[in-house]
């Protein structure tokens, strides 16, 4: 990681790209950027524009989630006759919002009536869209889904760690400012103590110190200290005002040990991931708007309430046997080809006529679990009292985080807080509770952020445990290095007349983008196969 350069004055990337842009125009510039690793944040190359299906050729799509519906939309454009079978009575799959008046029955039979006010919702599954998820963004625009910013990082939100600050939550802004300031000071000390002499030339050490002074807001002695300079970032005890008491009063930074106790480094890192970087989006009115918009595109093609029990591909066609849930009747649907988007945990229980390799791949991937809890509050007290507009407060309790609604900012009336988004063991603990106990526990734990308001302003809640979701039996496909190596390519390959698609057949696992990219790739290969037949 030595910063000592070789002395060769090569042009910078920017200089080179500018020269290419001037000489060759935009498309050449784009090509050059791609080959240099820029502009390569997405594998989306635009809609597949498939054409020339053989007359009368048909495709059966299993599952009306985003992957299945996109397959249907694009294959129909190519000239295929398309039919979709869907277990639920709505389009969207894990793209889903629960609104007031909705009823949700989980596995085990617990029924929840959602009591949210009009316009409020919980997104049990997908809830945010990164700016570089170009596929989902493209189709949102194409299908008229209005988007608004999703607040990921909010400096005014809180961080709670039961082992730091006596269990009292602190502002992200103060913690993050103090983290950077302290790290900058320590690095500057390391330079002064000759700790970096073997890594840096003298002039680079000086330049780094200069940068650290700006980055960490260090004082003239290269210390991160109490003063108006550090307060510019972490906030003041008395903020800047007008008139006689206008002069600000500096705030006091936290001790570095407390920051380590609060594990603020890990929280800061949350927001740094490319999947969480600015800008993030959400649909206006709930994530489920996307599923509805896709559903509109394939209106009349979906057979709802169809539980697939068998997939056969003998005799030059694909035949799916399914139970029509409403009547209990066993029926079949037949087509030349099949795009199967059924989650692997369910597909592994269905009799599938496919190669042993594909069957092994289907059976090899377990599903993760997660629990989300929506808590409706009578007022938006986090905005009115604390100026928190959207964003996430983190805790080391099992609820992991609470998220304030990014929609309807600064409006009056009730708002829904995401009161829990669990990971790992906490998901199982929460999922094992009855829904009302999950809501009660989330409320109890979340109250640490807003004592005196959280429980007092609560009006009603809903909780979705993904291990008990009837149409998935889990949250997302949970690959690891070994299973990827052994099964991933087989899982994606066209198996005679069947191809699988969904987030499980992607490396963008658990994101809508992965489902869509997988779908586009799968249908492109299936179309090629159909034309070669």
């Amino acid at each position: 990681m030595a910063l000592i350069d070789t002395g060769v004055q090569a042009p910078t990337r920017r200089e080179l790209l500018h020269a290419i842009g001037v000489m060759g125009g935009a498309s050449l510039l784009y090509q050059a950027m791609e080959s240099m690793g820029h502009a390569a944040e997405s594998q989306f190359k635009g809609p597949p524009n498939l054409q020339g299906a053989r007359p009368g050729a048909s495709v059966l799509v299993l599952g009306a989630g985003l992957a299945g519906m996109l397959a249907a939309i694009e294959l129909r454009k190519a000239g295929y006759k398309v039919e979709i079978l869907e277990y639920n009575n709505r389009p969207g799959g894990r793209n889903w919002s629960l609104y007031g008046g909705d009823t949700y029955t989980e596995l085990g039979g617990a029924v929840q009536q959602v009591g949210f006010a009009k316009g409020n919702y919980l997104n049990p599954g997908a809830w945010r869209i990164p700016y570089h998820h170009r596929t989902i963004l493209h189709y949102c625009k194409a299908f008229g889904v209005a988007l608004e910013p999703f607040m990921q990082l909010n400096h005014q939100a809180l961080v709670h760690n039961s082992k730091a600050f006596g269990g009292k939550p602190q502002r992200y802004r103060e913690l993050a400012a103090d983290w950077d300031g302290n790290v900058a000071e320590l690095l500057a000390k390391a330079i002064d103590n000759k700790g970096l002499d073997s890594e840096l030339r003298a002039e680079d050490r000086d330049r780094l110190k200069e940068a650290l002074r700006d980055w960490g807001l260090l004082d003239k002695n290269m210390r991160y200290s109490k003063g108006l300079r550090s307060s510019r970032r972490r906030g003041y005890d008395r903020p800047l005002g007008g008139g006689v008491d206008a002069e600000p009063i500096a705030s006091t930074p936290f001790a570095f040990g407390d920051l380590l106790d609060a594990r603020i480094g890990g929280i800061v890192a949350q927001h740094m991931e490319n999947q969480h970087q600015t800008t993030m989006f959400q649909p206006v009115g709930g994530m489920g708007m996307i599923g509805k918009a896709f559903g509109k595109q394939v209106e009349g093609l979906i057979r709802y309430g169809a539980k697939v029990t068998k997939i056969d591909q003998s005799g030059g066609a694909v035949t799916a046997t399914y139970t029509d849930i409403a009547s209990g009747e066993t029926r079949t649907a037949k087509a030349d080809y099949c795009v199967c988007t059924i989650p692997l945990g369910i597909l592994s229980q269905i009799e599938v006529d496919a190669s042993p390799g594909l069957l092994a791949a289907i059976a090899a991937v377990p599903y993760s679990n997660s629990v989300k809890v929506g808590l409706e509050m009578k007022t938006r007290f986090w905005e009115d009292d604390e100026a928190i507009y959207g964003g996430i407060s983190y805790t080391d309790q099992p609820i992991a985080q609470i998220s304030y609604p990014s929609g309807g900012l600064h409006s009056a009336g009730p708002g829904v807080i995401l009161g829990a988004y669990t990971f790992g063991p906490a998901s199982y603990k929460f999922a094992g509770m009855a829904p009302e106990e999950r809501v009660r526990t989330a409320l109890e734990m979340g109250a640490v952020f807003h004592p005196g308001r959280y429980k007092e302003q609560f009006s009603n809640g809903v909780a979705v445990a993904w291990s008990r979701v009837p149409f998935t039996l889990g949250c997302c496909a949970q690959w690891n290095e070994a299973t990827r190596k052994e099964h991933y390519q087989t899982l994606c390959a066209v198996d005679d007349r069947i191809v699988l698609a969904g987030e499980h057949a992607s490396y963008v696992g658990c994101w809508m983008e992965g489902a869509l990219l997988s779908s586009l790739d799968a249908i492109t290969r299936l179309h090629t196969r159909a034309l070669e037949a």
Partner: protein, 132 residues
């Protein structure tokens, strides 16, 4: 399999070996109860009867596959279908405890103590849960 049969024979032939485990304090909760409640019941339900939607969650209540501990050990440590592996998430002792608990509750009356050593002997090796 031979190993399984031998263990059965031993257990049948020497019931005294099993007796202390069965005669545990009736008031003390079974050590596997907490693990069941905080992990297994997320899917298999509090009554261990499982459930059915688009797919099925196996009922552990009255389940004849629990007759020999080797089978549930292989499932809990190695996973099956949508069910992830739990070796590495739970200790071998916790896995032994919860299997022992399920084999003796929910209408199951299988004899024989399940030990951490049996989990070591019959379990799948620890696998990473890299992603999500």
């Amino acid at each position: 399999m031979i190993k399984t049969l031998l263990r059965c024979l031993v257990l049948v032939a020497v019931p005294a070996l099993c007796a202390p485990a069965i005669a545990a304090e009736p008031a003390a909760p079974h050590p596997g109860e907490k693990v069941y409640r905080e992990v297994c019941q997320a899917c298999h339900m509090a009554n261990a009867k499982g459930a059915e939607g688009a797919g099925r969650i196996t009922a552990l209540a009255g389940n004849s596959n629990l007759a020999y501990p080797e089978y549930p050990i292989s499932i809990v440590t190695g996973g099956k279908g949508a069910m992830p592996w739990f070796r590495g998430q739970l200790s071998d002792q916790q896995i032994a405890d919860v299997i022992g608990y399920v084999r003796t509750h929910f209408g199951n009356k299988y004899k024989g103590k399940v030990t951490a050593a049996m989990v070591v002997e019959n379990g799948a090796p620890v696998q990473l849960r890299d992603e999500r």
